[in-house]
């Protein structure tokens, strides 16, 4: 606690390759005691990967890592914890059935002989919580606590292991303004006691309240570090965005036709709040925003997967009621979901069965027997139209490459006369060539007069493919821009336009 401003973490030349992707390329990071370092970058910049290496979840391919002046090779999570590195994951990792104290001491319980020393652990937990001025009873069951308090417990747990380096990944995303205040108070307190804190957040406006230094990453590379005081927001955003957009986005110009689909005041839970927009014939509408902006939630609410709290959907002038996906499919609104493998495909079924699945009503005779000829024809059509590369339609969908899987997902919808096709992150995890094919596919739909809703977190592709871009942040639409007239900075500014949760409290 006396040794302030001493380097406690020094990572240099870190590389990490996942099959097919270079996640980290010669990255460096330095953390000093008594500081809060913001690690910034767009989605996929490699921040989480770097932090997982530091906390022992991943091992690096090359590079050196010094913690508290000692050089370390590959770490396990447990070793990292023993050295004093604690990570608080974005999704909480607690045993919901156990009490606060039990969670804090899980795996390192105090015992007297054979018997658990519950009272001792509880009073020790109480001491740590008191020190942090967190008002939680250590005997409370964690599952009964609100998310914010669970997060406080995670922090307390990390500190009770004598961690000196704390990594927080998007800690404020689930918190209300008052809870964020509380969290920041704790962070400031920890900082004063000499802890080193790495803080990952997309909410740039929050940084001013706690951050000392920022490090910026982009596309798996280290870009720069600077003192927060010396940097302007624009400068930071410019570093985060950085790259030029090359013309790898085939654009097709169509005449904008009549209005096909209208969403009015859609509300669904916390992540979709008063969302209204229109889709027209012959245009692709991009939905930009940061991860967790509520775009996926909006698509799920429209498609009828998640319940809606309110709002109106109007398809070609007619109001439609959608309570479940079947309603949407029947109306002609279809979704290619975000997680292909989880929601989009039955990976253990063949291409044939995947394509036929949502179309069985068209393929079956009166007795519910599948008409094999119609099925064959439908699958053949899809394979040809979309150029699915496969030796046959009876191959398991799970064996295809990512791009081809995506084509199967889309293919199953094209067999029906869909009016609105929603793509949620259709190019995630597929290579550049396959991406271009997906873009062409969207263009193809656009030319056919189908309204295309295109959700993507990769800004270049949204700007390159969409005609109009709607930006969301925190469950609300924060702006609408024409792709040809906008800049990445404008979009990023809109995408980080959080409701000023902390402004009032900071005064």
């Amino acid at each position: 606690m006396k040794d302030m401003n001493e380097t406690i973490v020094s990572m240099k030349g870190i590389c990490k390759t996942f099959p097919g992707v270079k996640a980290l390329d010669n990255v460096q990071l330095e953390l000093r005691s008594g500081e809060v370092l913001a690690l910034l970058g767009e989605n996929g910049a490699g921040k989480s990967t770097l932090m997982k290496i530091l906390s022992g979840v991943y091992t690096r391919d090359s590079g050196t890592m010094e913690i508290f002046g000692r050089e370390y090779g590959d770490l396990t999570p447990k070793q990292a914890q023993e050295i004093g590195v604690a990570i608080i994951h974005q999704e909480l990792n607690m045993c919901r059935h156990l009490s606060v104290a039990e969670n804090m001491f899980l795996g390192r319980e105090t015992c007297r002989g054979m018997v658990l020393a519950n009272r001792e652990m509880e009073s020790e937990a109480q001491r740590v919580l008191d020190e942090l001025k967190i008002d939680i009873d250590p005997r409370q069951v964690v599952g009964d606590l609100p998310v914010s308090k669970q997060q406080m417990v995670e922090i307390a747990k990390a500190l009770s292991t004598k961690a000196r380096i704390l990594i927080m990944d998007e800690p404020t995303s689930a918190l209300t303004s008052k809870e964020i205040d509380e969290l920041f108070r704790i962070i400031r307190q920890l900082k004063e006691s000499g802890y080193g804190i790495i803080y990952i957040s997309h909410r740039l406006e929050e940084l001013q309240h706690i951050v000392d230094r920022v490090s910026i990453m982009r596309d798996g590379q280290y870009i720069t570090s600077m003192n927060f005081k010396d940097a302007t927001m624009d400068e930071i955003i410019a570093h985060m965005v950085g790259r030029e957009i090359k013309e790898k986005f085939p654009r097709v110009t169509c005449e904008k036709g009549k209005k096909i689909f209208e969403v009015k005041h859609l509300n669904a839970g916390r992540m979709v709040r008063d969302v209204s927009f229109d889709l027209y014939e012959g245009e692709i509408v991009g939905f930009a925003g940061l991860m967790g902006a509520g775009r996926t939630e909006a698509t799920r609410a429209i498609f009828g997967v998640d319940p809606k709290d309110g709002g109106e959907l109007i398809l070609v002038g007619q109001p439609v009621t959608i309570h479940k996906p079947q309603d949407a499919i029947r109306a002609g609104i279809v979704l290619a979901p975000e997680d292909r493998k989880k929601d989009g495909l039955c990976t253990k079924l063949s291409i044939r069965h995947n394509i036929a699945l949502p179309n069985l009503d068209l393929l079956c005779g009166p007795l519910g027997v599948v008409n094999r000829q119609k099925e064959d024809a439908m699958c053949q059509q899809a394979v040809e139209d979309l150029k699915i590369k496969t030796p046959g339609v009876d191959i398991d969908a799970g064996n295809l490459s990512g791009g081809n899987q995506q084509k199967v997902v889309v293919g199953k919808w094209l067999a029906r006369n869909s009016r609105v096709v929603i793509f949620d992150e259709p190019t995630r995890g597929i290579d550049v060539a396959a991406k271009v094919e997906i873009y062409n596919l969207m263009n193809h739909l656009k030319q056919q007069g189908i309204a295309v809703m295109f959700v993507s977190s990769e800004m270049p592709e949204v700007m390159g493919i969409a005609d109009r871009i709607i930006v969301m942040c925190d469950g609300r639409i924060t702006g609408e821009v024409m792709a040809r007239e906008t800049t990445q900075n404008e979009i990023l500014t809109l995408a980080t336009k959080f409701e000023s949760k902390i402004a009032a409290a900071a005064e």
Binding site: H97, S99, L106, D137
Partner: protein, 337 residues
Amino acid sequence: MNATKRTPRFLSVRGMGAALTAFAGLIVIYIAFGLIDRTMFSGANIMNLLRSMSKYLLIGIGQSYVLITGNIDLSIGSVVGMSAMTSATLMVAGVNPVLAILITLLCCLVVGLINGFLVGQFKLPPFIATLGTMFVARGIAYMVNGNRNTNAISSGIGKEAADAFQNFFYYGSTAGVYNTFWIALILFLIFFFLLSKTRTGRHIYAIGSNVDAAKLSGVSVVTTVTKTYLVSAFCAGVVGLILCAQAGMGNMEAGNMYEMYGVAAGVIGGVSPLGGTGLLLGTLAGAAVWQTLENGLSIIHAPVGIQRIVIGIIVVFAVLLDVVFRKGLLSRKGSKS
């Protein structure tokens, strides 16, 4: 400042609500049957009740250990049969009863160890792994004595030793209560202590609640899961000895369906089949509810079929409560903003 609103430690134990509910249900059922037929309240009937429920209690303890980690052990009914057959065959062959008991329990523990390895180490779905060992253990029960039930154990170790064995496990009594119940009670207290007061017990709950969090906190999942299967196999072994003592011989079909009785006892008492919660106190109540129903329905001469139907409904109802309760918790959390 928190101290003011603290509830007594006893009541704040998680799962106590469900366990107490099961006890309340037990009392209601018992009195209801008693009002129909006063024999229910007779001292002799109470003694019989306690003895008969002991088997369900023991099997329920073992199954509860496994259920709390979020797994299941389908093999224990067969292990009961294996234990009864092994011990009887050994004694018919003239092996000293104490030695026979030790060998038998050791064999049962081997099955538990295998289950633990399959589920813990090799990550097989517990339903499948223990389904396999269920068939194997039953097959062994058949083969031990060449596909026949055994002769009376007295034919091997003599009448005196056979009586001693049978009295110890079944027919004898101490302080006016059958020994079977004392054995069950002592084991209950030991396993109750292990589950609620020791580190291993804590880890069992943690694994059932969130196995990833447990692993990241340094809990050895393989070891802990194996321990739970050892407990369930051991309890099944003891039940097998009780059945052997009761019959005075080995029956190849002994313990048929007991694995499910164990699930029922646990679940009625509030042990969640999804893992993470449950108290052995609840299992005790569950076993008693089960036995009281069986006993009461037979006293009022209800058809056997009715008994099964009633028990089936109670089990489903108990789990339904659990599921509804959990869903309620989740949606409350989800709608919070």
